[in-house]
Amino acid sequence: MNYRPSYAGTGPAATSLRILEVVARFGTGTTAKEITEALQIPQATAYRALNALVADEYLARTSNLRGFALGHAITGLITAAAPPAVSTAARNVMERFRSGNRFAVHLIMYRNASLRIADEDPDYPLHAAFEMLRYPHASAAGKLMLAELGDSSGSVPMRPLSKLTEYTITDRSQLEAVLAEVRATKQASDVNELEEGSASLAFPITMPDGNLGAALCLFGPSARFPTICEQQEAARELTMRMAPLLF
């Protein structure tokens, strides 16, 4: 296996990251020898880094103790950094829906308890994209995710809920009530909660196993929220068509 990393850092942190990269490329069962050869680093350095990575569970040893596999601790980093892939067929379906619609239509995907913007409406870019990813309790798509997670999973941040606008729900019990309603109606909304003057409606797109995988979000001015709600039927029909194209 010939592999040369594009950038060769030398510090301990760089060594650790390059080792993770090699294990990710070579796959489960990569041995310490293969790693030292691929990275051209001294054995002692490699063993020290490998033991530290195993200790912190970024790597795990395979049953024969010779090989390495990516450990559960790396999950968060990989899924948060990797952009979700959306097929052309799915993009085309989204495009057709947008052309017959006067509101912004975005596709949001969920991975490891975080939101990823999978397909943004080119005509109406998301203003509050950062806030949406960061504060799920304030947006419709975020509420769908929190409702799916439930309160037992521990993925809902325990820190105080940030107040983005004066309408943002910051009371935990009030949020729980809203999430219960989201679970019952299978849709979530936000009016002025994420951003003053804007409203959104989110519909779940489920995976074959029935779990929440993505959401279709309609965005518009908050004054026109009733009109957004009129799109419900069409949007739900779209989610049914999108599901097999995405998962």
């Binding site: 489960t28 310490a32 450990g71 995976m207």
Partner: protein
């Protein structure tokens, strides 16, 4: 076959049934410290090396003996550490040896370790009984014959230990931590106070003087090593520790150093204190307590409590480690299958604990009831236990380079360390055994018989049950949940 490669990760762990990945660092560390029982050892073992009972006035220098023992044990911990960083063992040195020197040698290492843990557990219970009774006497209880009471204390302690161990590793680990902290604190305070009051009569010249001979030094080192043994016992918690590759190497590295420092202080202190004590105190089985009792019975009672607590914790820690080795052997089929069972609710190797505990309680009770002097019984049990530990240390430290070579990670340093350490250990063991045999002592023959029996058993397995021998070496393998998963669901 999935993208992760099923052939590399087993679906079901061979040590299923134990409560996995729950113990934080402190209880893991407590397992090591409790098994070493520094408070108990500080007050019992130097006195065992020191007394005229064995060597007369030509006893070896305490500081030198303890310093040498500490150096030997630190070498062993260097050998065990790389293996602990790589394998989440549930049966400690037995697993390491199986992976390094193979299953046949592992049987001998396992039996030696079990022998060591069992003997130290027996000695601990005996010490609990002796110091428990001493506590009652210092509180003013008049006894014509203390044997019945000692036996009763041992029985109660054994039952209590059994309950704690079956109930769960977290409960027993935390209770040992508590008891060990109390006893170390008590002992430190008492020693400081004693010296504060007797400062004028302290004479340090004798401490650093060399007036022994090398023969007594070797046997002294073996006894002093027995004050450190047990530091490796967290290696049996690989399945249960939350971050086994961090907490276990850390615990086995720091415990000998911590204990060594405590011992060097205590040895100095006792050398000074007992130097001027009357021969009857030196020859007693509870010298430190007797010494202080002549000043204040109340302080002595507190001290007795601390020492008894330390030994109680040591008994728990020893049997915790022992039962996990037996549990693995049961799972592998090289011991009774029944000992491989775990408690359905508490998730501890309860069958192994329940089968071992009566034997461990019976020996000290029998010794007491047949009128053996507690001091003599303690010396014999500890020394015998030390033989078992040393045997397992030799095999496990010799395993290091082979273990690393098998997984393709051997280094020059590992070959040097893995050959020097067992040689030094073997030399100490051999020298001690020679001295002991010349003195007409049966200890080395008893351990020799156990070792021989293990070799015969391994040979029997090799020819008659090769399948069982091949299954040796189970440990807490990586599971699917330990691996990276690309989860789409929130």
């Amino acid at each position: 076959m999935s993208a992760r490669g099923d052939r590399y990760i087993t679906a079901k762990s061979p040590v299923e049934g134990l409560r996995r990945r729950r113990l934080s660092f402190l209880p893991v560390f407590a397992q090591a410290v409790a098994n070493v029982a520094p408070a108990g050892a500080m007050s019992v073992i130097p006195a065992l090396i020191f007394p005229g009972l064995v060597f007369g006035t030509s006893g070896p220098n305490l500081l030198m003996t303890f310093g040498a023992a500490m150096a030997v044990i630190v070498l062993v911990s260097f050998c065990l550490r790389p293996m602990a960083q790589r394998m989440a063992a549930v049966s400690g040195l037995y697993s390491y040896t199986a992976k390094g020197l193979g299953p046949r040698t592992a049987i001998s290492a396992g039996w030696s370790a079990i022998f060591g843990y069992a003997l130290v557990a027996m000695a601990s219970l005996l010490a609990v009984g002796t110091y428990g009774v001493e506590l009652f006497i210092n509180l003013g209880l008049q006894l014509a014959d203390s044997r019945g009471l000692t036996a009763l204390v041992i029985l109660v302690a054994a039952a209590g230990a059994c309950l704690l161990m079956v109930r769960g590793i977290r409960l027993s680990a935390w209770s040992t931590l508590l008891m060990e902290s109390i006893s170390i604190a008590i002992l430190t305070v008492v020693l400081i106070v004693y010296f504060a009051f007797n400062a004028s009569s302290v004479n340090l010249d004798g401490v650093f003087a060399w007036h022994g001979n090398f023969d007594s030094l070797w046997i002294g080192i073996v006894v002093a090593v027995s004050a450190f043994v047990g530091f490796e016992s967290p290696t049996t918690l690989g399945g249960e520790a939350r971050r086994p590759f961090v907490s276990i190497p850390r615990a086995i590295t720091w415990t000998p150093i911590l204990a060594g420092v405590l011992y060097l202080i205590a040895a100095t202190a006792q050398d000074v204190a007992l130097d001027e004590a009357s021969p009857s105190i030196i020859a007693s089985s509870t010298p430190l307590s007797n010494l202080i009792s002549s000043t204040s019975p109340m302080v002595a009672a507190v001290l007795d409590f601390g020492i008894a607590a330390s030994w109680f914790a040591c008994a728990i820690a020893s049997v915790n480690a022992l039962s996990r080795i037996l549990f693995c052997m049961g799972r592998e089929g090289v011991a009774l299958r029944a000992v491989g069972r775990t408690h359905p609710a508490f998730r501890t190797p309860s069958t192994a604990i329940m089968m071992v505990m009566p034997v461990i309680a019976a020996v000290p009770i029998a010794a007491i009831l047949f009128g053996v002097s507690p001091g003599l019984a303690l010396t014999n049990l500890f020394t015998l236990g030390a033989y078992g530990y040393l045997g397992s240390y030799i095999l496990a430290s010799a395993s290091l380079p082979f273990f690393l070579r098998r997984i393709g990670e051997n280094t020059t340093a590992s070959w040097i360390l893995g050959s020097a350490t067992p040689l030094i250990l073997a030399f100490v063991l051999w020298a001690a055994a020679t001295v002991s045999v010349q003195a007409g002592n049966l200890q080395s023959f008893i351990y020799g018989a156990v070792f021989l029996a293990s070799v015969l058993y391994a040979t029997f397995l090799h020819y008659r049950r090769p399948g069982r021998l091949a299954s040796i070496g189970i440990y807490d393998e990586t599971r699917d949940s330990d691996l990276f998963h690309d989860r789409w669901t929130p």
